[in-house]
Symmetry: C2
Subunit: 203 residues, 2 copies
Amino acid sequence: MPGPRTTSPPLKSRLIEQAFLLLDREGPDGVTIRAVARAAGVSHAAPANHFADRRQLLTEMASRIFRQYLDMVATRGSVSGENRARAYLAALTDYGLSFPGRYQLLWRKDLVDWQNPAFLDQLNRAYDDFLQALAAGSRRVAAGDQDIETLGTAAWAMAHGYAVLRSTGIFEPRSDAFTGKPRMEAMLDLLLGADEDQRLPPE
Amino acid sequence: MPGPRTTSPPLKSRLIEQAFLLLDREGPDGVTIRAVARAAGVSHAAPANHFADRRQLLTEMASRIFRQYLDMVATRGSVSGENRARAYLAALTDYGLSFPGRYQLLWRKDLVDWQNPAFLDQLNRAYDDFLQALAAGSRRVAAGDQDIETLGTAAWAMAHGYAVLRSTGIFEPRSDAFTGKPRMEAMLDLLLGADEDQRLPPE
DNA sequence: TTATCGTATTGACACTGTCAATTTGGATTG
DNA sequence: CAATCCAAATTGACAGTGTCAATACGATAA
């Protein structure tokens, strides 16, 4: 039996596709059920068959966004040779600046259901992996005189905060005055140490 | 003649008062023009005489919130004796955790007009003061081998990021495993140095 | 008294999310 | 093949929202 012959791309995927276009163009508030339906060429109530409500649509989008971010981390880590912990952090701000709408959505608790088990599990798994990579690359943690969670929280908060503040326009993109490195790299050096776990030669 | 007999407190201040009640109870999205008008006991279009649109109301609220934050910084600095830079950072997360709705509003670019000159000026002035305090308390900056803006950006981003992530519930309130200090303090130690610019005895 | 002008009210419009009732069309039966 | 069934899409409605236009109100000024 040759499987169910799908007559056209299922509406659900078309809806999500259009929703992402709206998200990138107009931000989270532009993603209304009715606008998505219009963009997909269906009636305003058609999406209700695939998403219980607006929050569920946005939660599903957030889940995909997070997966996309993790892909970026994996790619970056294996390509540039920087250690995995730094890849997590640098990719976070890079992603936030490349896709402001998607990034903003991720942290809008009112629009995304953080209690969603799939989403929560994905996030916890990533954070644990990040902490492990961080511990492996830090001399002070290895020596046992530094709380890995404090370091991890500090680094994650810094990367996230920088992404948010850059995307609001409060911070300008500048380089460190002494090293010439991009600001984010210099900031990570401050926290993680410029001398430890560097893989690239100082050029 | 005993002065102009004001029949009742001016509507504008009553509106803002009710708006803050709504903000604290329901978050930024609960502050609708109509809800504020209802709470103040006037018709739905009455606020239009005092705020051109919803964005302007929320921008005015954001301005007051920022001023309130600066007051908290000043009080904290003069009471605890910690240096001014640390007071800025600690107060930021404290405020964010004490008033989640107000803090969330501050960073909602879609709801608050960051280009508002008064608001922008207030923010820049505070940030410059923060940088100056930071420079005064840092040996490495004083020695001239550390970009003060990188340090300031890192610290500000970290404090803001931590406030946001704590208020979403991603991070739990815990103490540093080695020093026993609150997490935020331990994080600041990582960045600013635990040994420099400490005013309080180690108890 | 009359005129004026800032302020509040009423009413409307286009938009939103969500629910109920209905239609549709393809697959699954008898 | 024809009858049935059922998921999926449509239509229509309701209560909200922000915002605009026209109106009514009231104190002050002439």
